[in-house]
């Protein structure tokens, strides 16, 4: 799959940011290293970016820059968990009551929740609410998410929910990696965990 690329020069023109800003954002890991794609052109080496991703990201940074420092934005955009714990009362506002009740009956109900745990529950709740998975499947999902600390490290990872002849399963792969299934496999859900983690972090500010 060939992604649509944008040159660095065009990117700066379109977004109105300067070289200094771009490099600063790169340093702060607001723009991931793997989006800097080096290609040789007739003028020598040039840097390109995946067009849609980088434009959306820069737009987001520009919007958040008003209220937050670059370090705070970096924390939001990073797939790594935030170190602080989440209070029980906050969790109640993030996931639906049904899911929370089902969960606390099974796994207990502490006052302070780790971010990773809240995120797992948030992902689960999202899929249950849309009717894509059942609560029983959610339990399998929760078990899997609990095994991936930091949601796949710096790169983040992608969650795949698949069905084959009525049997369902989950898979986690490093973001951007290819995965192939046989033709009988249906994939009702494929989502970037980093996106949900970002969403959750923003809600927690």
């Amino acid at each position: 799959m060939e992604t649509d690329l944008i040159s660095k020069k065009e990117l700066l023109e379109l977004t109105g940011i300067s070289y200094g800003q771009l490099y600063r954002w790169k340093r702060k890991k607001l723009i991931p290293e793997e989006w800097f794609i080096r290609k040789s052109t007739f003028t020598g080496q040039e840097t390109f970016f995946p067009r849609d991703k980088v434009l959306a990201r820069i737009e987001k940074i520009k919007n958040m820059k008003e209220d937050l420092s670059l370090d705070e934005i970096a924390e939001l955009l990073s797939p790594l968990p935030i170190p602080r714990s989440v209070k029980r009362s906050e969790v109640a506002g993030l996931v639906s009551e049904t899911t929370l009740r089902w969960f606390t009956e099974k796994y207990g109900d502490p006052e302070e929740w780790e971010f990773g745990r809240v995120l797992s529950l948030y992902v689960l709740d999202r899929l249950v609410k849309t009717g894509e998975i059942s609560l029983a499947e959610g339990e399998t999902l929760y078990g899997l998410l609990g095994k991936t600390e930091g949601m796949g490290g710096e790169k983040g990872c992608e969650l795949i929910f698949f069905r084959k002849m009525g049997v369902s399963g989950f898979a986690l792969i490093e973001a951007g990696q290819d995965i192939r299934f046989d033709d009988q496999v249906k994939i009702p859900v494929r989502l970037q965990l980093s996106q949900l983690s970002e969403e959750l972090k923003i809600k927690l500010i």
Binding site: Y19, G20, R27, G44
Partner: protein
Amino acid sequence: MDHNDLLISGSMSTAGGTFGQVKISGHATVKGDLQCNDFKVNGNADVSGGVRATDAVIRGNFMADGDFRASSLQLHGHADIKGDCHADRILLRGMTKIGKSLTGEEMEIKGTVHVKENCEAEVFNIQGSFEIGGLLNAGKIDITLFGGAKVKEIGGETITVNRETITSKIARLIKSLFSFSMNHTLTADVIEGDDIRLEYTTASVVRGNHVKIGPGCEIGLVEYKNSLDVSPEATVKERKKI
């Protein structure tokens, strides 16, 4: 939790571990990873592993097989770190070799530094010579050349490159006696930044808002947004206003 200190005087080989303070005077070989608050070396230290410390001050000869992480790091002498090196404040004096990337907030370097991959900081200040295999990315880059320097790419906000001018009579004398080649220049493929001021620099492409090309520069292409100033002692093949 309180940890024991590791104090070595003389010549000794020891295992790694977690300590409060590590103080090496003499010659030490540490087999394994080392973690501590204060890390002080006077003499020789070889660590076959990584190092994590709060404050590290190393004088003499130092070698580490793995990564080095500290809040503040001072290296005086000869250091060879095979992995990544990261510290908020970095002070390098002497000859330093980094096998992977060098990252931090503030870097002050006098001497020679070799970085195999990238070098990133908010402030990068060097008087000396260097070689960086990847990208030098810093908010404020201040380079005073005391020797040759080579880097693949430079990117940042303000970038200044100049050469130490020898004015004293003694220095001139030494120069004439040893026919010192003071032909020290910086070589880079691409230099990009907001404010760029270069001297004695050879580069294929320079891009920026305000660009000043000083004496001794040889630039293939300059792309500028606001202003361009080229010294008569510089060559610029092509210039483009964007």
